[in-house]
């Protein structure tokens, strides 16, 4: 491992510890909630069923990747990207956060235990933080076995080059950040309804939209794409048309394109994190986005008192 890899590993472990310690000392009731929720993930079959199913798929994918690596030597810098960019990864990002968080508040609301929880001397944000942190903790547990396989591949002589651990770690950092955002959004979806299915569908739609949406839309926004957002696409009167065109172009170039670029999870992961390139604006986007949804969740719980 290079110095950069060690540094990144230390930063990641340090961040996780800081999150836990921060919860423990700044929001002790949140930490209690975290322990209880993580326990309920660990002692219920659903998490383990997800784990088994996903690793069946993943095992198959890794095996075929390795076979390919035997015939076509893979660039050591690219291996992490290929390893993480499999279809089971998309599944784990779209389905898993939704499944982990759908119960969060919807189930408590349905059974009425939310009343017991929120009449204990806890602040709403502590409950929200605890539940989100527990889901994130279990999410990390679900990814760990895959991460453990990598050093084995790297040292076991399965590959004819060494792994670039820095890009592997930054890939996992990306997944952690994306997971944190999607889980926060899932918590929010779950706080809106008492129907778990609805909550999970909402968060799946959100995750799918962020993963696939920008990549799908971007070709239509490129200059010369010939779409309706193209200058000159309207054939109206000349003065009106040119004003309209200016507006459209302005909207496209200063609003739509930058926003889509900023929320393009697939691009962030595939072209940046998985290749070992960290971009501060991406990291800020995920942390800020998570905080935003956790804040919305707290508000949504509070709103209940006033209805």
């Amino acid at each position: 491992m290079t110095d950069a890899a060690w540094g990144l590993l230390a930063t990641m472990v340090g961040t996780a510890l800081a999150l836990l310690l921060g919860l423990r000392f700044l929001a002790p009731r949140g930490f209690t909630t975290f322990k209880r929720e993580l326990g309920s993930f660990l002692f219920q079959p659903i998490g383990w069923i997800i784990l088994v199913l996903l690793y069946l798929v993943r095992g198959y994918e890794v095996a075929s990747l390795l076979q390919r690596a035997v015939f076509l030597p893979i660039d050591r810098d690219q291996f992490a990207a290929l390893y993480l960019q499999t279809s089971s990864s998309s599944l784990m990002l779209i389905l898993v956060p939704a499944i982990l968080t759908m119960r969060c508040f919807a189930e408590e609301r349905r059974t009425g235990s939310l009343e017991v929880l929120l009449t204990a001397p806890v602040k709403d944000h502590e409950v929200v933080l605890g539940k989100w942190a527990a889901a994130l903790g279990f999410f990390v547990l679900l990814w760990l076995p895959g991460a453990v396989v990598l050093p084995i591949l790297a040292t076991g002589g399965y590959l004819d080059t060494q792994l670039n651990m820095a890009s592997v770690l930054s890939g996992y950092l990306g997944i952690f950040l994306v997971g944190s955002l999607l889980l926060a959004a899932g918590c929010f979806a779950s706080s809106l309804t008492d129907n778990q299915l609805l909550a999970s569908l909402l968060s799946m739609m959100f995750a799918f939209g962020l993963l696939a949406g920008p990549g799908y839309l971007q070709p239509y926004l490129a200059p010369g794409s010939g779409s309706f957002l193209e200058a000159g696409a309207s054939d109206g009167g000349e003065v009106v048309a040119s004003a309209y065109d200016d507006l459209v172009v302005w909207l496209r170039d200063t609003v739509l394109v930058p926003v889509l670029r900023q929320v393009n999870i697939a691009d962030h992961l595939g072209n940046w994190f998985f290749r070992g390139v960290l971009n501060t604006s991406h990291i800020v986007f995920y942390i800020g986005g998570s905080a935003f949804f956790l804040f919305l969740t707290t508000r949504s719980l509070e709103a209940r008192r006033w209805k």
Binding site: P28, R29, T32, T33, K35, R36, G39, S40, F43, Q44, T111, G112, S113, E115, V116, L117, L118, T119, A120, P121, V122, K123, R305, W306, K307
Partner: protein
């Protein structure tokens, strides 16, 4: 300990609680009585800090529910109506978790949980999953949860609903025991229960406070005692015979039962005209089938207030 001033709670177009005011003093056990849908649970949820009031002020243990919700909840042990608990935890785990959530220090947690389990009689199910215990135990686990942090105020919403008579008796005994150290407000629609356990009764109906007083006070308000006479003679004749007896109020003829006339009379407080009536009837040689002094019941008062008002 509990001060409620002009509390109102509106859900959309329905006014669930309408200008409710009452006080509960330290160490009192107060029964919160009313028919289903009267606004008991809504009021209790405001007290427990689950709902916010639409208007009015609520203070519990000196803290305002609106501005210091966490302080209020620290002072209140709350048992909600259907006792929703986490089914996937074991009883003892659940109570430990709740104790931690309520801020019982780690060093005292174990003792606090054991004590609460012992008081509520759930020691024998401690290792069972909450979703596997019976309704009665579930209720007691909920009660143990309310007690575990020894809050000064206990608010129990329908603690005996859905229980069999034995379980009900045990809960009542427990509430009586707890009343030595806690201020208790509990709701019920079962009159006998409230009468047995509480010092004072708050009777609410359609969101409004209809009566507030000790059981004796309420009974007094419920109207006087009555004398019921059944004898083998037409009712009018009985009324004529008994009219002059001291302490008997206005007579009411009830439907004759075959050859027996049935008459009811109001009786002045402290008076007992039974002996005089019996003598009078005996003088006439009338066969007496029943002669009974009837005390007003909480039931009749309850019906009078909650239904009489509606008519």
């Amino acid at each position: 300990m509990i001060e409620v001033d002009h509390l109102s709670k509106r859900f959309g177009a329905t006014l669930a609680v309408d200008d409710l005011s009452f006080r509960v003093a330290r160490g009192e056990v107060v029964g919160f009585l009313g028919p289903n849908g009267a606004g008991k649970t809504t009021t209790i949820r405001v007290l427990a800090g689950y709902h916010s009031a639409t208007s009015g002020a609520v203070r519990v243990a000196g803290h305002d529910v609106l501005t210091e919700p966490v302080e209020v909840r620290r002072n209140v042990g709350y048992l909600p109506e259907n006792v929703p608990l986490y089914g996937d935890m074991r009883v003892v785990e659940y109570l430990r978790y709740r104790a931690e959530l309520k801020g019982v220090p780690a060093a005292e947690r174990k003792t606090a949980v054991e004590r609460a389990m012992e008081r509520c009689g759930v020691l024998e199910v401690r290792r069972k999953l909450v979703r596997h215990v019976s309704r009665g135990y579930r209720q007691r686990v909920g009660l143990a949860d309310a007690l575990v942090a020894s809050p000064p105020v206990l608010i129990l919403d329908e603690p005996t609903s859905g229980l069999d008579p034995n379980q009900r008796r045990r809960i009542k005994e427990l509430v009586r025991e707890l009343s030595e150290e806690h201020t208790i407000l509990f709701s019920s629609h079962i009159l006998a229960e409230v009468g047995e356990v509480s010092d004072r009764i708050l009777l609410i109906d359609r969101g409004r406070l209809q009566a507030d007083g000790t059981i004796d006070e309420l009974l007094e308000r419920a109207g006087g005692r009555t004398l019921r006479v059944e004898a083998r003679a037409p009712a009018e004749e009985l009324v004529g015979l008994l009219a002059e007896i001291d302490g008997c109020g206005p007579f009411r003829e009830l439907a004759d039962d075959g050859p027996f006339g049935v008459v009811e009379a109001g009786v002045e407080p402290e008076a007992d005209p039974r002996e005089a009536c019996a003598r009078r009837l005996q003088e006439r040689g009338l066969l007496v089938r029943a002669l009974a002094l009837q005390l007003p019941t909480l039931e009749s008062y309850f019906a009078e207030v909650t239904e009489g008002g509606a008519a």
